[in-house]
């Protein structure tokens, strides 16, 4: 093939240049982040398995305590102590862990998803391919972040089941800050937001460890502000309306963070 014919063919091509299709990035994202993806899913699955096992045990203990007569007997007191100290401690720990699951996903999966390329210099390879850095960035965030959020939604549902017998015992309701966070729409929405915060900070700081640390701070600040100031002032009442509202603004925030990340990628000089 001569230079001239090659040239002519390209010129003809140029006017109907189709971008590289999005779905190609599915394989790319999977191949590059499968270790992180599998780890996240494994942790979520392990948490789910633990909640199922402990949830059944707590229900069993509760049923035994409820059926125990007379309540003042030594054996009933022993059952009571199991339910109120050991089971309660487990439930409390699960509640705390569930609270930080979104943050951990943001730190471990979000902060590294883009920052690793910047840290190791491989962005010079990735960003000079035909797909372009905008598609590359958006695709990675969506194809990694969304499945993780969906998995988190499933865990949130399970957690609602797990906590059910604990809530009345501890004078908590579904509107209690930490309970509200870890179920329904809020839990996957917080997970998605944490992931996007991590990804944005990774792009901004270009290094994984500082991005993880700052993600932690930003997420904690956002959570505390939400608990103390935003949520008490929602214009609507009721569990599901409040969940919907919180889910909506978190998704809007996630989309905004994605846009900001792409904007950063665009202007990021080599």
């Amino acid at each position: 093939m001569t230079v001239l014919t090659l040239h002519a063919r390209y010129e003809a091509d140029a006017d109907r240049l189709h971008p590289v299709p999005w779905q190609r990035m599915i394989w790319v994202t999977w191949r590059q982040h499968r270790a992180a993806f599998i780890s996240v899913m494994a942790v979520l699955a392990a948490a789910a398995a633990f909640e199922v096992a402990e949830g059944l045990k707590i229900r069993h203990d509760y049923a035994a305590l409820a059926a125990c007569r007379p309540l003042s007997s030594a054996s009933c007191q022993a059952l009571n102590s199991v339910f109120n100290s050991s089971d309660w401690h487990v439930a409390n720990t699960v509640d705390i862990v569930m609270q930080v699951v979104p943050l951990l996903i943001g730190m471990f999966a979000g902060a590294s998803v883009l920052a690793r390329d910047l840290e190791t210099g491989t962005f010079r390879f990735a960003w000079t391919q035909g797909i372009g850095r905008e598609r590359w960035t958006i695709a990675k965030l969506v194809f990694f972040g969304v499945p993780v959020a969906v998995a988190a939604a499933a865990l949130g549902e399970l957690n609602a089941w797990f906590m059910a017998p604990i809530l009345p015992q501890e004078n908590m309701t579904v509107m209690t800050a930490t309970v509200f966070d870890t179920r329904g729409i809020a839990f996957p929405a917080w997970t998605l937001t944490a992931f996007m915060i991590g990804a944005f900070l990774g792009m901004l700081l270009r290094r994984i460890l500082p991005a993880m640390a700052v993600t932690m701070g930003v997420y904690a600040a956002l959570a505390v502000v939400t608990w103390l100031f935003l949520r008490p002032n929602y214009p609507i009442g009721g569990f599901w309306p409040a969940q919907l509202l919180e889910g909506a603004w978190l998704v809007v925030l996630s989309v905004a963070l994605t846009a900001a990340t792409v904007w950063l990628a665009r202007r990021r000089a080599a």
Partner: protein
């Protein structure tokens, strides 16, 4: 392929000197290599401490009114619970950020070839670094625990909770510092074992969580001592022993690690 990048100033002189590096030399090397951590962790904790002091002053003002109104401000208690909650994860966060990169980063980037030479000196390097940084993390966490305890005192006085409640017991200065120390050593040991920072951080979280869950739901109920201070001392003691054991294991691993 590992890039052989000499960390600024560090390592080179250890490799060249024939006598072991004196302890003050290790201090300097540790400072140079970990100064990002040694600066950022205290800065973050100091910022949090300032926040707690401000909140603590406000809580005390509200507490004064409590007697008059017969009602302690609900907002204060919600904030205190949120802070208590963050305190639960603080030791492991200090541990993973300070501890996981200490050895893993050198193994990851290949700089350990400069830092380590042969036999005893490599172990000394590891022991010195871990002991220095671990003690630093523990003391820092202990001081922060004091600030938190001061902040939290009105809620205990008001009878909202007590110091023997699992979630409060954890945050008292002595035990809090010991947990930070243990978290640091778990992280450092995982870093040595896995040779990569990020997986070491993740594994540390898992191990720490398992250990604290086991302690809270089972071990504490079986301590041979009773009372707040004996229990604090006992828990602190076994965590320190565990940390020392982890230093030894890490040093052994470092010796066996082929360069």
């Amino acid at each position: 392929m590992t890039a052989l990048i000499l960390p600024p100033g560090a390592g080179a002189d250890t490799a060249e000197r024939s006598s072991p590096v004196p302890w003050h030399g290790m201090l300097w090397v540790t400072w140079r290599q970990q100064r990002a951590t040694l600066v950022s962790v205290p800065v973050v904790l100091a910022a949090a401490a300032v926040l707690l002091v401000i909140a603590g002053v406000r809580v005390r003002a509200d507490y004064g009114n409590l007697i008059l109104r017969g009602d302690f401000n609900n907002g204060d208690w919600a904030f205190a619970q949120a802070m208590d909650f963050l305190m639960q994860v603080a030791p492991v966060l200090i541990g993973i950020f300070a501890g996981a990169p200490v050895l893993a980063r050198e193994l990851e980037s290949g700089t350990f070839r400069y830092a380590w030479t042969q036999g005893l000196r490599r172990e000394r390097w590891v022991i010195a670094k871990l002991a220095l940084l671990g003690a630093f993390s523990a003391v820092l966490a202990g001081v922060f625990g004091e600030v938190f305890a001061w902040f939290f005192q009105p809620f205990i006085s008001a009878g909202d909770t007590s110091v023997t409640n699992g979630l409060v017991f954890d945050t008292r200065p002595v035990v809090f510092g010991a947990w930070a120390l243990a978290a640091f050593m778990i992280a450092a040991c995982s870093g040595m074992l896995l040779r990569r920072t990020l997986p070491a951080m993740a594994v540390t979280l898992g191990v720490y969580l398992g250990l604290s869950l086991l302690t809270g739901s089972f071990l504490r109920g079986h301590y041979p001592v009773s009372g707040f201070w004996p229990a604090q001392s006992f828990e602190c003691a076994w965590l320190v022993v565990l940390s020392a054991a982890l230093i030894v294991v890490t040093a052994r691993l470092a010796r066996r690690r082929a360069a």
